[in-house]
Amino acid sequence: MTELQPQPHSEAKANSVSSADFHGANTQRLSGRGWGIALLVMVLMWTLVPKLYTPNLNLEHARQFRIPFSLSEDYSIYRSYAEQTDAAAGENIINCVMLGDSVVWGEYVAKTDTWSAELTRIWNASKSENDPAQPSIQIWNFGLNGAHPTALRGLIRHHGKWDSRTALILHFNPLWITSPERDLSTFKPAPFNHPALAPQFRDRPKVYKENFGERLRVAIGQRAGFLLWAQGMRIRHLNGYDWGGWVMENPDALPWDPEFVKKTDEMWRDQGIREGVEAVSWEDQGIPRQSLEWVALEESYQWSQFLKLLDELQDQERRTLVILGPLNPWIMKEADLQQYNKILDQVEITLTEKSISCWRPDSIASELYADTSHPLAKGYTQLAEQALSSETWKNWITARIP
C-alpha cells in the first residue's frame, strides 16, 4: 500500500486538479476547436461512407433478386434494395414490390421460381401474347424470412424507401395467427423473429420483455442510417460479431484475407433454401391432420399490426394489394378448415370496408405444399396463373396503366 513518501506524479495528488493534470493515462485532449473539426469529420463520414460503400445489387442484370437468407437481419441491405429497385425498374414498366415472410421469399425454391418471379414472368408473357401495347410489370421479391406482420410493419416503416409510384403487394400469411405464440400475444416472454422490427415502446408485443436500454438501442439503431449501415457491415464482413468477437472466432486471420472475402461473397448466394422436398401429397405421406389454436381476429396482435400497417400505407396513398393465404388445407382438421375460412372471410370484409384491394387465391394441390404454408415451385406457378385469371388482380395491375 502507499506509504508516506513524496508522490512522484503530480496526477496522484487528490487535491486541486489543474487542467494540465486533468488528463490521465492514454487520453487525447482536444480543444473546443479540435472537437468542432473532429465532429465535422465524423458527420461527413457518417453521411458519405454509407453512400459510397453500399452493396451494388446489380438489379438491372438480375431482376430476380432476393435478400440472401444469411443476411436476413441486415436491414441496411433491405434499405439499399428498396432504393435500388426504383432505379432498376426502367421506363414503361409497372414497378411493384411484393412483401411478406418466407412464403414470398421462397423457402423451398430458387429465386427464379418464387411467387414474385412467376407473377412477373406469366403476366409479361401473357401481355406480349394478347396485348403487346400494355406495359410490362416488374415485381421485386421483398420477402424476408420470418417476417411476421408486426415485423413487416417495422420493415416498411423504417426501411421501405420506395418511390411513391411503386405499388405494394402484401402477403398476409394466416400462419401467424394459428397460435397465441405465433401471434406474439402471450404474456410469457419468448424469443421471436426480427424483434428489431417490432415496436419497441408503445404497442410492443406482450412477449417482448427486453429491458428499456436494449429497446432504446434497437429503436435508435433502426432510425439512424449510419448505425444501421455499420451494423450491416458487421453482419456481412464480421459474421455479425463486433471486432473482438470476430477475432476470437478467427484468432489468426484478418478480415481482408481472401478466405473471408470469399465467405462474404458466399453470403450473397441463395442460402437457406430447403432442398430435397418432393411433391408428394399429404395423404400419401400419411401425415395426420392437425388442430390449430386459432387466435380470434379481434384479439390478434399480429392482425392489429397488419391493420395499422395498412392504415399507414393508406395515409401515404400507397397503392396496395393484399394477398390472403393460402395455407395448406390438407393438414387441417375439418373444424380448423372452417375456422380458417371464417377468418379469411372476416379479413376480406374488413379490407373491402377499408377500400383496400385484396385477392384470396384458392388452395393449390396437396402435393404442391412443402409444409403448412410454403408452396413448391409448381405451386407458385399455379398461384401466379390463378392471379392472371383473377379480376381483382387484373384490375389492380391494369389500374396502373395511364
Binding site: 506509504e3 492514454n26 489468426d252
Partner: protein, 460 residues
C-alpha cells in the same frame, strides 16, 4: 445505468441542458441530487433507501460531533454504521457460509440460514466516501457541511457514485459551494476524456474479456500458454475496464464543472510494487493509506511494525474488493510481495542498477500473478491455474490467442511508454490528437456492436 449505453445517453441528454441552465441558481444542487438518485435508482429503487440512510447518518453524526464533547463516540457510531452496512450487505453470505463450514467441520449439526440480501451496486464506494467525511471532520481536516442537500450530492453525484474515484470531502465538497459557469474548454476536456474511457471499455476491455472468459471459465481445459496469455489479457482487461470507467466519470464530472481525482497513472509502467500502488486505483490506495495505514502507525515504528502495518492494510484492501477467499488471497499476495520486495526496491542497486524495462517487466509479472486470485471463479480454479502455469508443460497446444489482442496490448503499452518518455511531445501535436480522436470514434462506430457488459468494479 451504464455510461456506455443509450439509456445513459438519453439520461444525460435530459439532465445536462437543464443542469447548465439551473446550475448557478438555487435549483442547481437539487437537480443534481435528483438526477443522481434517478441514475442510481435505475438499478433498483430500493438502493435509494440505503444510500439515503447512509448519507443521513453521517450528516447527523457530524452534526452531533459539532455539538458534543464526546466526538469519539459519534465517530464510532459512524464507523460502526458504515462498516455494519458493508458487512450486512456485502459479507453476510460469505461469513455465514464460512461459519456453516466451520460448524460442519466441528461436527455441530446446526446450519445458520443463508441471508438473502441483494448487494447494492457501488456500496463499497459510497460508504467509504461518506465515512471519510466523518473521519476528516473528527480530525479537523474538513469543515462541517451544513446543507444536507449539498452533503447528499457529495455522496451520490452520479459520475463517481458506483465505482469512484472515492472522493474526499475536502476536495469535492467545496466545489459544490462555488458553482461557476462552465467554459467550453472544460466541456471539450471532459468530452475528450469521456471518449477515451468509452473506447477503453467498449473496444478494449470487452474484447479482451472474451478471451479471458473463455479460458478462466474452464481453466482445467487449458495449458500454460493459454493460461498465461489469459492472465496477461485480464491484467489489461481490468485496467481498461476500471480506468475506462474512471475516465468516463471524470470526463462527465469535468463537463459538469467538477474535478474528480485521477485514479490511474500508467500502472503497468510501475518500476516497483510501491510504485504500482501509487499508480493503480489511486483514490482507494490513498484512502487506505490515510485511514488505515497511518492510524496503524504507518512507517513510524520499527521495520517489523512498518511491514506489519503495510501487510495488514493490503490484506484489508483485498477483503474490501470482495467477499471471497480469492480476494483475501489477492490482498495477501500483495502483502507478502510488498514485504519481500520493499527492501530491494529501496536499495540503490535496484534503483540505479537495474534497467527500467526489467523492473517494469518484473512488477508486471508479479501483478499478473496476483490477478489470478482476483479473476479466478474459486480458490480451486486459482490453484488449477497456478499449477497449469508452473507445472512442466507436456504439450504447448495452440492457445488460440487472437494476435489482434496482443497487438492492442502492445499498442497501448507503447502509448503509455511514449507518454512518459521525452518523445511525449509527439502526442501533443494537434494533428496527432485530432486524428487519434477521429480514429477512436470511427472504431467505435464501425467495430463495436451492442455490448452492455457491466464494469468489473461494479460488483465491489
Amino acid at each position: 445505468m451504464l455510461f456506455h449505453t443509450w439509456t445513459f445517453a438519453l439520461f444525460f441528454l435530459v439532465f445536462y441542458p437543464v443542469y447548465l441552465s439551473v446550475r448557478r441558481t438555487s435549483l442547481g444542487i437539487p437537480w443534481l441530487l435528483v438526477s443522481s438518485y434517478c441514475f442510481y435508482g435505475w438499478w433498483n429503487p430500493l438502493y435509494l433507501l440505503l444510500i439515503l440512510y447512509s448519507t443521513w447518518i453521517d450528516f447527523w453524526v457530524v452534526g452531533r460531533m459539532d455539538q458534543s464533547p464526546r466526538r469519539r463516540l459519534w465517530l464510532t457510531v459512524s464507523l460502526v454504521n458504515n462498516l455494519g452496512i458493508l458487512v450486512s450487505f456485502k459479507y453476510a453470505t460469505f461469513l455465514t457460509n464460512n461459519l456453516n463450514l466451520a460448524l460442519q467441520t466441528l461436527g455441530i449439526p446446526y446450519e445458520v440460514p443463508e441471508p438473502d440480501v441483494l448487494l447494492p451496486v457501488g456500496i463499497s464506494f459510497f460508504t467509504f466516501q461518506s465515512m471519510s467525511y466523518t473521519i476528516d471532520y473528527y480530525r479537523g481536516h474538513v469543515a462541517r457541511e451544513t446543507s444536507f442537500l449539498r452533503f447528499a450530492t457529495f455522496v451520490s453525484i452520479f459520475p463517481q457514485l458506483v465505482a469512484g474515484p472515492i472522493e474526499r470531502a475536502k476536495h469535492l465538497l467545496p466545489q459544490f459551494n462555488r458553482l461557476e459557469s462552465i467554459p467550453w474548454s472544460r466541456i471539450a476536456d471532459g468530452a475528450s476524456v469521456f471518449v477515451t474511457g468509452l473506447f477503453k471499455k467498449v473496444a478494449c476491455a470487452n474484447a479482451l474479456a472474451l478471451y479471458v472468459d473463455s479460458v478462466y471459465t474452464l481453466p482445467e481445459n487449458h495449458t500454460a500458454p493459454a493460461l498465461i496469455l489469459a492472465t496477461v489479457c485480464f491484467a489489461w482487461q481490468i485496467y481498461f475496464d476500471f480506468s475506462g470507467y474512471t475516465d468516463m466519470a471524470r470526463g462527465l464530472a469535468r463537463m459538469m464543472g467538477f474535478d474528480l481525482s485521477i485514479n490511474f497513472h500508467h500502472p503497468y509502467l510501475a518500476t516497483g510494487l510501491g510504485d504500482f500502488w501509487r499508480r493503480w486505483h489511486i483514490s482507494l490506495s490513498s484512502w487506505f493509506r490515510d485511514y488505515v495505514y497511518i492510524p496503524l502507525g504507518g512507517s513510524r515504528g520499527s521495520l517489523v511494525q512498518t511491514y506489519w502495518n503495510m501487510a495488514l492494510t493490503l490484506l484489508i484492501s483485498g477483503i474490501w474488493h470482495g467477499a471471497a477467499w480469492t480476494f483475501v488471497a489477492w490482498g495477501a499476495f500483495h502483502a507478502v510481495a510488498r514485504v519481500l520486495t520493499r527492501g530491494m526496491e529501496s536499495s540503490r542497486r535496484y534503483r540505479d542498477g537495474v534497467p527500467a524495462f526489467v523492473k517494469r517487466l518484473w512488477v508486471f509479472v508479479l501483478v499478473c500473478l496476483s490477478w489470478i486470485f482476483f479473476r479466478a471463479m474459486s480458490w480451486e480454479d486459482a490453484m488449477v491455474i497456478y499449477r497449469g502455469i508452473f507445472a512442466p508443460v507436456s504439450t504447448w497446444s495452440d492457445p488460440e490467442f487472437p494476435l489482434a489482442f496482443g497487438a492492442l496490448i502492445l499498442l497501448v503499452w507503447g502509448h503509455q511508454w511514449l507518454e512518459e518518455s521525452r518523445w511525449k511531445t509527439i502526442l501533443k501535436l494537434p494533428v496527432v490528437r485530432l486524428s487519434t480522436m477521429v480514429a477512436l470514434l470511427t472504431y467505435l462506430w464501425l467495430f463495436c456492436g451492442a455490448d452492455e457488459q457491466a464494469f468489473i468494479y461494479f460488483q465491489f
